[in-house]
C-alpha cells in the first residue's frame, strides 16, 4: 500500500502535466502557416495527424514533428482555414485562421519587395503617401514576426489551470453533497 502511494506521489510530482486538453496554436508568417499542438501544461502532441481544410478543400496534411509542430505554405483561402490535429485516440483540436490574415501578410510581403534597398534618400518626386504606406507595411511585417511567439505564449497561459479553480471545484463537490444530504433529510 505504501509503495503504491509512493508510486502515485512520484507520478504526480514527476509530471509537470496539469490537465488534459489538446490545443492547437497556428500563425501565419510570410504565407506560411505554422504552429504546434500541445496539451495544456502537458507537453506537445508528437506524431499526431494534422489536416488543413478550407471549406471542403484539403490544403495540406501530415503528422506533427517531435515538437508537435506543423508547417505548410498556403495562399489566401476563400473560406477560413481550419487546422485540425487528431491524436487518433480521442483528442481532437482545431485552430482557425480567417482569410483576412492573408491580406495583412500580402501587404507586408509587397512591402518587402517595395522597400528601399538603398540608403540614398528618395528623390522629392516620391509621393509621401506611398512612402508612408511602405513604412507601414515594413512595420507590419516586423510586428507580425515579433508577436508570433508572444501569441503562442498567451495561448498557453490562457488555457492554464489555476489552483484556486481546482480548490473551488473540490469545495463545490463538497457543497453539492451537503445540499443533497439536506434535501434527503427534508424529504423524510
Amino acid at each position: 500500500m505504501i509503495r503504491a502511494l509512493v508510486l502515485l506521489c512520484a507520478l504526480l510530482v514527476a509530471s509537470p502535466a496539469f490537465a488534459h486538453k489538446l490545443k492547437v496554436f497556428a500563425t501565419l508568417t510570410d504565407r506560411t502557416v505554422s504552429g504546434y499542438a500541445f496539451f495544456i501544461g502537458g507537453g506537445r502532441a508528437q506524431g499526431a495527424q494534422w489536416q488543413a481544410l478550407s471549406g471542403e478543400t484539403v490544403l495540406a496534411f501530415g503528422t506533427t514533428d517531435d515538437a508537435g509542430g506543423f508547417s505548410f505554405a498556403a495562399q489566401r483561402p476563400q473560406a477560413p482555414l481550419v487546422v485540425t490535429v487528431d491524436t487518433r485516440e480521442g483528442h481532437i483540436a482545431q485552430a482557425i485562421l480567417p482569410p483576412e490574415r492573408w491580406a495583412q501578410t500580402a501587404l507586408a510581403q509587397d512591402a518587402q519587395g517595395a522597400a528601399p534597398t538603398s540608403t540614398v534618400p528618395q528623390t522629392p518626386a516620391t509621393p509621401a503617401p506611398a512612402l508612408a504606406q511602405s513604412l507601414e507595411r515594413i512595420v507590419s511585417t516586423a510586428v507580425q514576426r515579433e508577436t508570433a511567439p508572444l501569441l503562442a505564449r498567451i495561448e498557453e497561459m490562457d488555457a492554464r489551470m489555476r489552483l484556486t479553480d481546482i480548490i473551488s471545484a473540490l469545495c463545490l463537490i463538497a457543497g453539492l453533497a451537503g445540499v443533497a444530504l439536506w434535501a434527503l433529510q427534508r424529504r423524510r
Binding site: L5, L11, H20, K21, A45, E89, M161, A169, I173, L181
Partner: protein, 212 residues
C-alpha cells in the same frame, strides 16, 4: 481521450449519449442514501483531481480515471459522480464540452458500473484481501477497456475519419489500464483489510463473507 470536445460528434450520438446518461443519473439518484452521497462526493473529487494530472505519452497524454474503484464502491452512483466531475471540468477549465457532457459521462461511467456489477460481488464475497485486489485490478482493466471502446465507437459513429487508430489506442490505454489496475488493487486491498463493509455501494447490499 475520454474528454471529447464540442463540434466533433454527430447529433444522434450526442442525443443518444445524453438520454442514456440521464437515465443512468436518475437511477443513481434514486438509489443514493445518506451513506452513498458522501462516498460519491469523495470519489467525484478524486476523479476530478486525478483527471487534471496527465502524463504525456507519444501523440497523446493519459491520466488516471479511478473508474474501477468507482464502479465497485458506488455501483450506479458512478453516473452521478462522473457527471458532476465532468461538468465542473467543462465549466471551469473547458476540458471536454457541454454538448458532449452526456456521451463523455456515458463513456466513462457505464464501463465503471458494468465492471462494478461483475467484480463487486466477487470482491465482497472473498475473505482474502489479495484476491479482492486481484478482482479490483480486473475491474479497473475492464473499465478502462470499456471506456476506450466506447470512445472509439462514439467517434466512429460520428465520422469514420475520426476513428481512433488501434496502435495509438493500445499505446495510450494499455499503460493506463495497468496503472489503474495497480491503483485499484491497492485501494481495494487496503479497504478490504481495514473496513470490508465499505466496499458495498449500499449497506444492506453487503454480501456475506465466505471463508475459502
Amino acid at each position: 481521450m475520454a474528454h471529447i470536445p464540442d463540434g466533433i460528434l454527430s447529433a444522434p450520438v450526442l442525443i443518444a449519449g445524453a438520454v442514456v446518461t440521464a437515465g443512468g443519473v436518475a437511477l443513481a439518484l434514486r438509489s443514493m442514501d445518506e451513506r452513498a452521497i458522501p462516498r460519491a462526493a469523495i470519489l467525484a473529487a478524486v476523479f476530478f483531481a486525478g483527471s487534471l494530472v496527465s502524463v504525456p505519452m507519444g501523440p497523446a497524454s493519459v491520466h488516471l480515471l479511478f473508474t474501477g474503484v468507482m464502479g465497485v464502491l458506488l455501483g450506479t452512483g458512478a453516473f452521478a459522480a462522473v457527471l458532476t466531475a465532468l461538468m465542473l471540468q467543462v465549466l471551469l477549465f473547458g476540458v471536454g464540452g457541454l454538448t458532449t457532457l452526456g456521451i463523455n459521462t456515458l463513456n466513462i461511467a457505464l464501463p465503471a458500473v458494468v465492471a462494478g456489477a461483475i467484480f463487486g460481488p466477487l470482491i465482497r464475497s472473498t475473505a482474502r484481501p489479495s484476491r479482492a485486489s486481484g478482482y479490483a485490478a480486473c475491474a479497473a482493466v475492464l473499465a478502462v477497456a470499456g471506456t476506450a471502446g466506447l470512445v472509439a465507437l462514439s467517434l466512429w459513429l460520428s465520422d469514420p475519419a475520426y476513428t481512433p487508430a488501434a496502435r495509438v489506442m493500445a499505446l495510450t490505454y494499455l499503460p493506463l489500464a495497468l496503472a489503474e489496475a495497480a491503483v485499484s488493487a491497492s485501494v481495494v486491498g487496503f479497504i478490504k483489510r481495514v473496513q470490508p463493509d465499505a466496499l458495498a455501494p449500499r449497506a444492506q447490499a453487503a454480501h456475506p463473507v465466505v471463508t475459502p
